[in-house]
């Protein structure tokens, strides 16, 4: 790996870190548990690395490790997105509970 590739990667890492800090600071405390579940599902994108290993190797031990990695990442992706959505579905505003008032953005 050449030095400029490494430097570019570190740039990406630093900028993504700042982006994360700004965006995630705005998430209300109300949604912190779904946030953890969601970022967990997103970071299961390490599935990409696992797929590259499992798909391209010919050696047995790498296949075993790659298989475990793909399996564990898939569990996190599928389970993570499903559970985040399931939690978020439960967060309902007050007006939705009153059938008389039409669904709208008007506050209580």
């Amino acid at each position: 790996m050449t030095a400029d590739v490494i430097i570019t990667s570190l740039f990406v890492f630093a900028l993504a870190g700042f982006l994360g800090f700004t965006v995630i600071s705005k998430v209300p405390k109300l949604l912190h548990t779904p946030l953890m579940a969601l970022t967990n599902a997103l970071s299961a994108i390490s599935l990409v690395g696992s797929l590259l290993i499992l798909g391209h190797t010919e050696t047995t031990y790498a296949r075993v490790l790659g298989f475990i990695a793909v399996l564990a990442s898939t569990i996190n992706v599928v389970g993570g997105f499903l559970i985040t959505d399931r939690m978020l579905k439960m967060f309902k505003p007050a007006e939705k509970r009153a059938p008389a008032s039409p669904r709208g953005e008007a506050g209580p």
């Binding site: 982006l19 690395g49 290993i53």
Partner: protein, 467 residues
């Protein structure tokens, strides 16, 4: 050409991830965020599989692994009850870290001849973080699920032992940088990382779990970013960095809410607070207790009631009963709100999820900063399974272990009702002077049972059926 298209697909996925987190800033748009994340993820996976050179056996193994993973993931997503959410989240950190550690080990053995010092250092850190988050998260999940003791387990020189383990790990990484052909050290490093994970979580008590889960989240993200650095995969770097910062922000919020530093949480073992700080409780004054029907009478006459839930509500699984009580009070014309301390429960946002599950509209769930100024105007506060987060000695008793911790100012309300099993002190073993406040009424009993009885008393049903 194909390589460029794949990179472009990754770029689209990165934007999708960014939007996904951006839309999490409001409960109204959050589900759109999940959808954006899912679409971005699908794009990234299709793009990855489009890399040429996947072997025939590779395809078969990939399909089998994804099929099994999906079969396990669906029940973990749809069936796990909300009360088990802290351990479920901890478990998912363990899976993520396991994947990263496995890829790191495999990658080293396959490619070490082509690695420079930078790659070796990053892979080493990836394996260390991946391994320690794997066992650490399993330990945390075990403690949260009460399969392991929640009390911190301590021994003399523990911190030095842990530092020594981490030091040996870093030394192995440094040695490999200069002697990359010593591949036998990689399994050693992996086993050491697994050991460090156990050693780091053993001394941490149940009440510190919110911070620790958030920190493990952060480490899991950083290990994924390290994997991205080694593979030169920008999508992985960004996703890992986002996950890492999310965990870090949550951990900082948790620490601030307890007025403690990371160092103190990780190495201080809260449960081991010296007993001299505990004041003699008996001479603080009279404790007044009330029956549920007396308490219900007072609540019925109040204009506003604020309910303060804590871990005790989660343990008693009383959230649905609490909502029934809130609905009944509102039918009587009482204004009901919930005051949520950031560290109430066992993970960030724990109380919010439980109450949302019980159909409490989220406008009624108020954060500490939103509600603290209103307490003097509140007629009745109902403290349900919370203790240290409402202890006024955090404001003025300098010797108290929780001194300086921001608390919910419930003692400023007109009347405070505390539902508790007994006069036993809270997690930190600190006497709560709130219980001796002349405005405080203790309602003894199991949270769930007391709340259902309160509901019956408020609605008047108990009189109607002649109990």
């Amino acid at each position: 050409m194909r390589e460029n298209l794949i990179q472009l697909a990754y770029l689209v996925a990165v934007i999708g991830f960014g939007l996904s987190l951006y839309w999490m800033n409001s409960a109204k748009t959050a589900r759109r965020g999940v959808l954006a994340g899912e679409i971005a993820f699908a794009i990234a996976i299709v793009a990855t599989l489009a890399y040429p050179g996947v072997t025939g056996t590779g395809w078969v193994l990939i399909i089998i692994a994804i099929a099994i993973g999906t079969a396990i993931g669906i029940p973990l997503g749809l069936k796990v009850p909300m009360t088990a959410m802290p351990e479920r989240i901890a478990l998912s950190h363990a899976f993520g870290a396991l994947a990263v550690a496995c890829v790191g080990v495999a990658h080293y053995f396959l490619d070490w001849e082509h690695f420079g010092k930078f790659e070796i250092a990053v892979i080493g850190i990836e394996i260390l973080l991946g391994g320690l988050v794997f066992t650490g998260s399993l330990m945390a999940a075990g403690k949260l699920h009460e399969m392991l003791p929640q009390r911190p387990i301590l021994f003399a020189g523990q911190n030095y032992a842990n530092f020594a383990l981490i030091g040996v790990g870093l030394a192995i990484v440094a040695f490999l940088m200069f002697n990359p052909d010593q591949t036998w050290l990689i399994p050693v490093l992996a086993c050491l990382a697994l050991l460090i994970g156990v050693a780091l979580i053993v001394p941490i008590g149940g009440a510190d779990m919110p911070t620790v889960i958030a920190l493990l989240n952060s480490y899991a993200g950083l290990s994924a970013a390290a994997l991205g650095l080694v593979l030169n995969n920008k999508l992985l770097i960004v996703a890992g960095a986002l996950d890492g910062t999310a965990g870090l922000i949550l951990a900082i919020i948790m620490c601030r809410a307890m007025n403690r530093s990371f160092r103190n949480v990780l190495f201080g073992a809260f449960g081991a607070v010296d007993e001299t700080a505990v004041e003699g409780g008996g001479d603080q004054g009279q404790v007044r207790s009330a029956s549920t029907d007396e308490a219900a009478e007072i609540m019925k006459m109040a204009r506003s009631v604020v309910i303060v839930p804590g871990y005790g509500m989660a343990v008693a699984q009383a959230q649905h009963k609490v909502r029934e009580l809130a609905d009944t009070l509102e039918a009587e014309g009482v204004d009901v709100k919930f005051a949520i301390h950031p560290v109430a429960g066992r993970m960030p946002g724990h109380m919010n999820v439980l109450l949302a599950e019980a159909n409490v509209p989220y406008e009624k769930l108020l954060d500490m900063d939103e509600i603290n100024a209103d307490f003097p105007q509140v007629d009745v506060v109902l403290v349900l399974g919370a203790n240290d987060v409402v202890n006024p000695s955090a404001r003025h008793v300098k010797t108290s272990p929780i001194y300086g911790m921001p608390i919910l100012n419930v003692d400023q309300a007109q009347c405070i009702m505390v539902v508790k099993r007994s006069m036993r002190s809270g997690f930190a073993g600190i006497e709560n002077e709130l219980f001796f406040n002349p405005k405080t009424l203790m309602v003894f009993g199991d949270a769930k049972q007391v709340v259902s009885e309160l509901t019956l008393d408020v609605s008047g049903q108990r009189d109607a059926i002649g109990l």
